[in-house]
Symmetry: C2
Subunit: 411 residues, 2 copies
């Protein structure tokens, strides 16, 4: 593995200084190669699907894993969209002149070698490879073992495109040893790898965070809240709550606990009850909620659970302060929303809660690179350092200072 990573690091010196137009051309070729290789990719995917069925994977997982012509075309199109984004390398982030006349430019540069560990759909492979290449980085990908054949076929297509442009094939590759031991070894290689991005279940993220010698940008769980204030527009509140929970219950930005100000509980909760009944959501409520609507009782555990399912907990609170305190205690600093028409309360909520994304009168489901206008995303960071929230190509860069002088020496 060490020799492999030495070559990855060497490749990063090449990818870091490619011209924007050249990277765009290479990425267009990535897309063409994915289309050209679609029969190979579907064949490889069939092997994965066969094992998945043999291993009794759930219908949902098999559905996620499955590739067909249309899905491969979507993958190619996503790569073309990334190709068309503004190049993130070389952006001048800041600049000034210090008293002695030195001119300082703060410039965006690639991070270097990016390790991405994921347990997702095969399209993440092509998306991530394209995002890393666009931002001048080398990526080392470790996908789920259930998608190993599919991922290999996708990376083979990309490598053919790299070869056409005489680029180092290590610019995009799969981790050669994809066992748990291989991953354990990989995350100790801080001499060659600059950042590890784990996306997946809690046990994966905790394993990587605890054992990595390399900086980690984690994509951890979201226990997200929406607080309906006493001065909320209740129609907006119902629409947003239903959307935040039901548009994709398995998403990390989905609503888990609805907090309701006591003054609107009597009017709002019956509407909520009706709306969620239509959406087939299982509701669980605090004691005060149960006095108004007839649903299951919530336990203490519910408040800190990311259901990843169509289940919602409801809690009636005294006021904004109790809502903020509840979120500080149970939230995971992901995405938190307030529904109110009151400016002062809205700003208090958004300024005092420590989370990646705070929403006023909008669904927390908007925490997403595409929705934020980043084009595509590597994921949603729950780190506080470097990248927080949706992580696009700009977040795949770091910076350097370029200092221009005329002979200045330090007194």
């Amino acid at each position: 593995m060490e020799q492999f990573l030495i070559e990855a690091k060497e490749a990063a010196r090449t990818t870091a200084t490619l011209k924007p137009y050249f990277k765009t051309a290479v990425l267009m070729e990535f897309a063409h190669a994915i289309r050209r290789f679609s029969a190979d990719i579907i064949e490889a995917n069939a092997l994965d699907l066969k094992s998945a069925k043999e291993n009794n994977l759930s219908y949902a997982m098999i559905e996620r894993l499955m590739l067909n012509e249309k899905r491969i075309e979507d993958m190619a199109k996503a790569v073309e969209e990334i190709a068309a984004l503004r190049d993130p390398v070389g952006r001048i982030l800041d600049g000034w002149v210090v008293p002695n006349g030195l001119r300082i430019e703060k410039v965006a540069t690639p991070i270097g070698v990016v390790g991405i560990i994921y347990e997702s759909r095969p399209n993440v492979t092509s998306d991530t490879a394209a995002l890393c290449f666009k931002s001048g980085n080398v990526c080392v990908l470790k996908g789920g073992k259930e998608a190993q054949n599919s991922n290999e076929a996708i990376v083979a297509a990309i490598k053919e495109a790299l070869q056409k442009f005489d680029l180092p094939l290590h610019a995009v590759s799969l981790l050669p040893d994809s066992t748990r031991e291989g991953v354990a070894k990989f995350i100790k290689m801080d001499k060659y790898v600059d950042v590890i991005v784990p996306r997946g279940g809690e046990s994966l993220i905790s394993f990587v965070t605890k054992n990595s010698a390399i900086p980690v940008i984690k994509h951890d769980k979201g226990v997200c809240h929406t607080y309906v204030d006493s001065e909320a527009d209740l129609e907006k509140a119902v629409n947003i709550a239903v959307n935040a929970k039901c548009s994709k219950p398995s998403a990390c930005n989905a609503l888990e606990t609805l907090l309701v100000h006591k003054d609107v509980a009597k009017v709002l909760l019956p509407k909520i009850h009706t709306a969620f009944k239509e959406a087939g959501t299982e509701l669980r409520g605090c004691e005060k909620t149960l006095q108004i609507i007839d649903i299951k009782e919530a336990t203490e555990e519910d408040y800190s659970t990311e259901y990843l399912d169509n289940i919602l907990t409801i809690k009636v609170v005294e006021d904004l302060d109790e809502a903020i305190a509840h979120i500080a205690q149970y939230g995971t600093s992901h995405s938190e929303a307030i529904i109110t028409e009151n400016y002062t309360k809205a700003e208090k909520f958004m300024n005092s809660i420590d989370a990646a994304c705070l929403y006023l009168n909008a669904s927390s489901r908007f925490t997403d690179g595409g929705e934020f206008g980043f084009g595509a995303e590597v994921g949603i960071s729950t780190n506080k350092l470097h990248a927080r929230g949706p992580m696009g190509i700009n977040e795949l860069t770091t910076y350097k200072y370029k200092v221009y002088g005329e002979g200045q020496i330090r007194p």
Copy 2:
């Protein structure tokens, strides 16, 4: 320790939302308290000095440790300067409106609980406490054991100032257990501490990086180069080289290896020899250097050594590409300089080398928060993520997204 850190995290909720004018007033009181407590601080420092002498610490270390009225006044003034800086919290870093009308603001926020582990002068204690407080963070400080009494006295003064304003005393504190085991425990507490900044020797930094479950921003060694190109102004080259090496040989941004283009070696090296002889620098050279000037021969090990001493290695290179390759192999991505009048070569050097700070015709000794205009610095980061190079109060913040809607839901 856990209870202590729970209270530190709780205190961070308070410090995060203090108004700028209020933080300025508290910091001015930090400075006053340091002056008021100066007799206590000097008394405590005397105990440290006594142990230092008993333990046969070097003259240089004792000199660094020693506090007197003047040094305490300088500490107070440094805190006042930090108080006068522009508040870094709440800066709007970016903002845009997405197609559905959601207005997104990217806003600077405090990181939270910052752990700083250092082995330095006692003034780092007051500087760091002030920088963290200014940026809305809580700091947990772990200074060198040789300065323990001095640090306790300084923190006692600061805590009196905090008390005057009814602020949580955990806003600034020393790590209660300052043993190696205490530190080992501390850096596992990722539930409460958001970042660890280690400043000190290689063994400390390696210990923290390898064992921390908390993100680390390390302040590691600098093996810095200056490359004198064939088109350099040789007078600038000599001045800059002497300054980069001799103005403070123990600094991380000091020059360690001078790379000289072969076409100017014959003219430049005798001048370099004379200038460094005057400065008392020990020179070591490659084979080609030794053909021109009579100095000690350099070994392979010299090229990767951070001397922290008045010693310089000189190497003659064929061209710019060899200089860049040498720096890629031996450099530590800290501060690298090129001396040339040629625009194209200058930009090639500054764009292709991966380092925190690149200099054209200036001394690498300018890599410093004060020199960059940041006011004061927490240190110089050799991380690639989050903060790179000089780290001031802006680098002690992270960000959140505030998203303003009128009822938007995700389709």
